[in-house]
Every structure is written in C-alpha cells, then in structure tokens.
Amino acid sequence: MKHIVILGNGISGITAARHIRKHSDFRITVISGETEHFFSRTALMYIYMGHMKYQHTKPYEDFFWAKNRIELKKAWVKTIDFDTKTLHFETPETMQYDQLILAVGSSINRFGWPGQELAGVQGLYSYQDLELMEANTAAVTSAVIVGGGLIGIEMAEMLLTRNIPVTFLVREKSYWNNVLPEEESALIGRHIEEHGVKLRLSTELAEIIPDENGRVKAIKTTTNEQIECQFVGLAVGVHPNLSLLKDTKLETDRGILVNEFLETNLPDVYAIGDCVQHRTPQQDRKSVEQIWYTGRIMGETVARTICGERTAYQPGVFFNSAKFFAIEYQTYGQVPARLPEECDTFYWENKEKQVALRLNFRKDNQALTGVNGFGIRLRHEVFDRWIKEKKPIQQVLAQLHEAHFDPEFFRRYEPEIVADYNEKHPTTPITQVRQPNFWEKLFS
C-alpha cells in the first residue's frame, strides 16, 4: 500500500493527513521533531500567560491518531534523499516514502545584529521557544521586543502578564503599518500604549550588548539610545524553513517552489503551508503567505491530489484575524495598507469604544473589495459572499446588520456607521434596511 509521509505536524501537515485518511486507505506517517502531537502554535501565548496548559492546545485527543491509523513519529529529519525516496533521521534510522508532503513551516528571521545569539535573546515560533522564553524571563526586570508585527505584540502581552515592563521597537512610523492602513495602525498603537507598553516608533535595533556572563544586558538603537533589558524578543517576521533543503534537487527560492497543484519540481514531492512559495500566486495574493488558514486550505487541497483527484489550490476571498490585547481584528478581502488607485475607502471609528470598520470598494462600480473590523465581529460567510458578488458599498452598508456577529445584547453600531457614511456622502445618503424586531426574529 502506498506510504504517504508528511514531514511536519502543524496545521497544514495534519489537515493533509486527516483528509487523506478520509478519502483513502493509504499508510500515513506524520513526522515532527518538535512535539509528538499536533498542537496549536497560535495558542503558545496562552500557555505562557496561564490561560491554558500545553495539553489544552492539542486539537485532537491522543487516541485520535491511532484510531484513524495516522502513524506519528517524533524525530528530526536530517537529510532527504529524493532519488531513493528516503528520509534520514538524526539517529541512524531511515524511512522510505512513496509520496512526500513537505509541511516544514517557518523559521524566525534574524538580521545579523551583533549580539543576536546572546542568552536572553530569542524569537517565538516553536514549543521549544516557549520553554526557552519561560526560562529566559524567570528573573527579568525589563524587556525589549523588536519588530512591529503580530508575534511582537503577542510577546509584549505575554511579558506584561508577568509584570515585566516592555519597550517595543518598531521600525515603521506606526504599528504594523505595512499591513494596516494609517487609522487602524494608529488605533492599535494607542491601544498598545494604554496597556503600558513603551512603544518606540521609527526605531531600529542596532546591537545587543552582553554582560560579563554572555547574557543580554542592554540594547542599542540606531539612534544610539541604550535601553537596559535582560530579555530581547526578536519578532521581525518569519521565512520558510528551508534548512533541510539547501543544496538538494528541490527547487527553492524564498520558499519551496510549487505550482498550483502544490507539486514541487520533483515527482511525488509536494509542499504545503508556511514553507511554500507559489510560482504563480493567484490574483491579489502573495507568493508566500504564512498564516494558519492558508496552511489548512493547502492541506485540504493536497489531500485531494494525493487521493487521485488532482486539484488546484484555490483559496477564495482572503481572510485573517488577530487580537491586539483586547481588540479583536477580522479582515475579509483586500485591505492593503496603501489604498489602490482604483479603490475608494470608507472608514468609521468610535474612538471611545475603540471600535472601527473600514470598507474598501472600487471607484467604478462601487463594488466591495475588502473590509477591516476592529472590536466588532463580522460574519465570514456574509462578507465572503458580498465580496464575491461585488456588492456595492451602499447595499453593504444598508444591510450591514446581516454581517453582525457580536454576541446578543452587544451595542449595535450599524446606525452610527450609516450616519457617518451619510455625513461623508451627503449627496447619496443610504437608508438602513429595516431590521427585524424581537417578535419577527423570534419566529423567523
């Protein structure tokens, strides 16, 4: 029977394994050196903050794997011989595969700063990183986080729960402004500062200074400012993990190069998830997209192909989400940091409640192209449909309550939002579609 080997037990590899099992009887082995079982990387911060323990982050109970005949192997693969279809482990062991799915994830970026290898300097990606962070922050009185992205803010939040003051160095002139438009970026920046993080914008790390034991004792910025700290969190992004694949026949660039069927240049070798670089990315999509959901969708897709139904990777309307301290963020479609030429935008914010909504739409036909929600939950299915349907923004606003996903009794912002739109567009005011009342809803 065909032996499918999946290297990497993250969301992409595990999704592939589950779906291959659903549709076939192939022998499946999932290998990872990180942990024996699949856990949710996105929940690492909650373990540190004491919301959960490691076992809570495992999406499947331990019996699940044997029951579904998914063999697990906890080991590091050292080399891959693609000619003989053999994996060589760090131990003298080997394993043969008939088809190989590479789902090896990412590695964190380090930009060659002096002192970046010192004790007390680290990134956060793996379970081992989390254990290291636990050890590294045991007796720390101040910390510096470098990098204004999602993992940086998570690290800041983590440290604050241990009462460790955090200075957050952000190269850009506002937080995450290579992804967020100006207003959102400012909103989150304010929120971060309210939570007690010292935000240093337009500031870059120059070097990390050791004490006599080879531990970090301070950092220096490019403006020559010295900041005392015993911990430095490097959160300047990740890159596809290619460490295993250098100088092999496998074609790589920034990531493992795949076609739309997630096939690499080698027969019977596929790649999915964070480690992938698409040769021909879909319109509006990046060639390297390191997020949970794309990993999952690639896993679903490659399973089809392995099981005989060659299927192209077709992520639909983009979506993503995050949480910045208390502010939840959801986005659907395209809301780039800089507004594209052909688009117009409508932005509403309730300053006091820190709630915001942005709708991007085409100038020519008013069609919705993307939405950002902050502190407001939006229904995925509805925005997915509206964006696909190219629904004009006026209709979107008039029917906004259909996309409402906040819990019952939460304040409804639709009237404020529509009023704000009408104020900004006095010539073409819109009226909200009447919402069903209590009794209508009761029997709807």
Partner: protein, 514 residues
C-alpha cells in the same frame, strides 16, 4: 495585586477564620426545658430517660454535645430495630434543635458581634479584593489561572474542595455540628420569616451571599460583555428574590414555602405527599402554586427551550446554575473535555432523569392509591434513596464540593435530571445553536478549555460546524474567550443549524465532490 486587594484578602481570611472559630465558642448544657420544647411529646417520653446523664452536663463543643445526644437516640433506635418495632423508630433529627436550645455563652449573648466579625469582615474583605479589578482594562481576564494553586487543582483547590465537602456533609447529615453558624443567622431569619433559623436557612443565606458577591465579581470581570453582565444580574436576581426572600416572606404570611422558579425534576419532592397536601390545603395561592409548578414542567420548559435553548433556565434563572456561574466561575476550566467523559455524562444524566421519573411515578402511585408498595418495591425506600444519593450526595456534596476539582458544573452536567430534560429539547427541537464563523477558527483551544460543561467546542469550530449539544448551558463563555470571534450563541430556524461539517469551509474554493 494592589495593596488594597491584599488588605481585602487579609480581611476576608480573618473573617473566614473567625467564622470557623465560632464553631467552638460557648458551651452546651442540656436542660429539661430544651427537651420539652423541641421534642414531640411521645418522643419526649422515650428520650427523656435516656439522656438523664447528659442533662446539666457542660459540653465545650457542639461535636461533643451532638455526638453524646445522637448516640443515645441511636441506641434507643437500635433497640427498637432489634425488637422489630420499626414503627417506633425515631426519624426526626432532634440533635440540631436540642443543641440550639442548649447553647450558652458568647455566641448567644453576642450573636451580632460574632456575625459582623465573621460575615461582616469577610464580606468587606471580599469587596476590597474584587472592586479594584475595575481599574484593569476591560477584556478577558484569564491570566495565571493555570499558574495558581487555587484554580488548577493545586493545594488551595484541594483544601477548598475538602472544606466544601465537609461543609455539605455537616449540613445534610450532622447539622448540630454547625449549630453555632445557624445561631449566627438566627436574628436574620427571625426578621425575615419570624422563625428561628434552620440549617437550610443558613444554607440559603450563604448561597445567596456567594451568588451576589461572586456575581459582582462577574459583572466586573466581564464588563466588556453585556451578555455576561445581564445573565449574571439575572441569576443574582432570581437567587436573591425567588429562591431566598420570597419563600421566607411566604412563611411569614403563613403561606407554603415555595420557590417559584424551581422546576421538577430538579425540585424532586414537588410531587411528594407533604408538598401536594400543603399546596392543596392552602387555598387559591396553594393551588396556583401547584398549577404554576406543573405549567413550568409541561409548558415553559419546552417552549422557552425551543426558542432560546436551555440557557434560559440553566444560565439565567436556576439556582444551581447561578452558583456555578458566580462562585464556580474560577473553576470552569477544570471540567473534563475527553470523549470518554462525554460518554459517562450521557449515561449518568439520563440515568438520573429516568430514576427521577420512576421515583416520582412511585410517589404518585402511593399518593393516589394509598399503597406504599408497587409490586415488591417500597415506594418510600425509592424516594429516600433518591433523596440521599441524588438530592444530598450528588447535587450537594459532589455538585458543589468538587467545584475546585472537577469544575463548576459537575451536578448540572452529570446529575441534573432537569438539565437532561431541557437538553433533550435543546438537542432535538430548538432554535438555539452556537454558530461557527466560517473558517476563522485557529484551533487555539480557549473555547474548549473554558467550557464548564466539558464540551469540546473546538472540535466543532475547527471543522466549520455549529455546536448543537444537549449539555450546552449557553453560558456564552466560549464565545467570550474566543480570540478570533468565531463563536456566537444564536436562535434561528432549527433547520439552519449546521449539524454536519461542511465538505469545504468558507475560504476554500476548490470544487465540491461529496
């Protein structure tokens, strides 16, 4: 922790310690009068000669006194049993009223002082500890739950659990041991109902206090969530009025004791002879209560559960639920999420429902026919078995005593027959579901971890399926803690519930084949 919170904690612990110490205060001296006033005349005749040695003796603790008195009554009962004179056996528990009447010393003379030194200090301390949390930023506050020995089955949890278990055992089976606590609340009981306090008044008082104070804690903890605030207010209201004050006032007005929101089969003795007789013999109000109780069972449960799911009761009205959602909130994460525990849960909770129905059928059979036996089975044995195993041990000792060990809904999940009934409606004929927001789940596990009913919410969410489970009490915590806004408690057309995982989740456009 802020300084004021430390002071609060100190005051709370002092009040608590004083409360424990009050158990040992004063002495107990049995008097002729105490016997006469508290024993039925026929029992007085029987017991009086037996306790000759105890009369006039000074006991320094309620334990010594209670044990001595109880032992004498037990010997007497043993003699009756060996002589097969079963009808003479004394079932009334006289230890408590006699102990109360025999109490002397500071606890009787300075009741108010001790009340304020114990309850007063503890309440003040609790507020000082809780209120400053208002200064924290609104949002989910689960930091360090798994670091703290109180909330992660550590030593504080074990000590607290043991205390609660002992408390319940004393309350149900040895109330005379805690007679001093009952004396402490006597003035309050007198003021409310005009009667002296029983152990059940003490229990009701503590219960209400816990729901109100920990309810205020909930209001602060979840002040970013109107859903959580409203339902906390709701359980606080129902506990204070319906469960605590109104029944006491009814007694004062010489009406039957009745909790208007308690529903059979949770209220398992609703159809017991004594209750039916009381209701029937109390005029229009009594009959109204009888009709109301039956209407709750046959009309309110199915209709409200159809429209809103069982949450309308379990998380908004119920007393057990009220305590679980307030006092029990710090322990919700301790429920077991395994598939195995779900299996056990289904057998147990539906087993108890069947037990409750059969037991009640026996009770009614006896009531209408006057025959105590149904075939070979004695209906009184069945009901007392239910009362002991389910009413006292399960719902009380295990249900609350195990909060810090097995989570705050042990009873609701594994034992409550009403929850089983509500759950059947919710599962099979209801507009309620928890909607999963397309493909947004990141499998982080917060929802499952904080589900007090042990539902593996993530299992459904990560495959794009709605959560439709008979056990879900609709507390909404999964939705609150989800960092990606994936879950929403909703009511809509029952046919729109997504019961089977969609072949493709929103966001994947590959062709469907299934």
């Amino acid at each position: 922790m802020q300084t004021i919170q430390k002071i609060g904690l100190g005051l709370f612990l002092t009040g608590f310690a004083v409360w424990i110490v009050t158990l040992s205060l004063g002495q107990f001296v049995l008097t002729e009068n105490a016997l006469k006033e508290n024993l039925k005349p026929e029992h007085y005749e029987l017991i009086r000669p037996r306790v000759q040695n105890i009369i006039g003796q000074t006991y320094s603790t309620a334990f010594g006194f209670g044990n001595a008195f109880r032992a004498e009554v037990e010997t007497l009962n043993e003699e009756f049993r060996s002589a097969q004179k079963y009808d003479q056996v004394i079932y009334d528990n006289y230890s408590l009223p006699v102990a109360k009447a025999s109490s002397q010393g500071t606890i009787i003379q300075q009741t108010g002082l001790w009340f304020w030194l114990s309850f007063g200090l503890a309440i003040l301390g609790a507020f000082l500890y809780i209120l400053p949390n208002r200064r924290k930023h609104p949002g989910i506050k689960n930091d360090h739950i798994y670091h703290s020995p109180a909330t992660s089955r550590g030593w504080i949890g074990i000590v607290l659990g043991s205390f609660l278990i002992l408390f319940y055992i004393a309350l149900y089976f040895y109330p005379e041991y805690v007679v001093n606590w009952i004396i402490l609340v006597d003035p309050l009981s007198q003021a409310l109902s005009g009667n002296p306090a029983s152990q059940w008044f003490l229990y009701g008082f503590l219960y209400t206090l816990a729901v109100v104070i920990m309810g205020i804690r909930m209001l602060i903890k979840y002040r970013h969530s109107p859903y959580q605030m409203l339902r906390s207010l709701s359980v606080m209201f129902f506990q204070t009025s319906f469960a605590f004050l109104i029944p006491e006032i009814l007694i004062r007005l010489n009406q039957p004791y009745y909790d208007f929101k308690n529903i059979w089969p949770l209220d398992y003795d609703f159809f017991f002879e004594f209750n039916l007789n009381t209701l029937i013999s109390n005029g229009t109000l009594g009959l109204f209560m009888l009709g109301w109780g039956i209407a709750l069972i046959v009309i309110a449960v199915p209709i409200f559960s159809y429209f809103f799911g069982k949450r309308w009761y379990c998380s908004w009205v119920c007393g057990c639920g009220g305590l679980a959602e307030t006092l029990g909130d710090p322990y919700r994460q301790l429920s077991d999420k395994s598939l195995k525990s779900w299996k056990i849960e289904r057998y147990m909770v539906h087993g108890v429902l069947v037990f409750a129905i059969v037991m009640t059928a026996f009770v009614l059979y006896t009531y209408f026919t006057g025959q105590s036996n149904v075939g070979p089975i004695d209906s009184y044995t069945v009901r007392s078995a239910y009362g002991f195993w389910i009413g006292a041990l399960f719902s009380g000792v295990v249900g609350t005593g195990f909060y810090p060990l097995m989570g705050n809904r042990v009873w609701c999940r594994f034992g409550c027959p009403l929850a089983a009934y509500l759950g059947l409606v919710q599962r099979f004929k209801s507009r309620f579901r928890i909607t999963t927001n397309g493909g947004q789940c990141i499998s982080c596990g917060n929802c499952s971890t904080y589900c007090e009913m042990g539902i593996d919410v993530r299992w459904y969410a990560q495959r794009g399926q709605d959560i439709v489970r008979s056990s879900c009490v609709g507390c909404g915590i999964c939705s609150s803690v989800c960092p990606r806004g994936v879950l929403n408690l909703e009511n809509a057309d029952p046919n729109s519930r997504v019961m089977i995982a969609p072949e493709l989740m929103t966001g994947n456009e590959m062709p469907k084949i299934g």
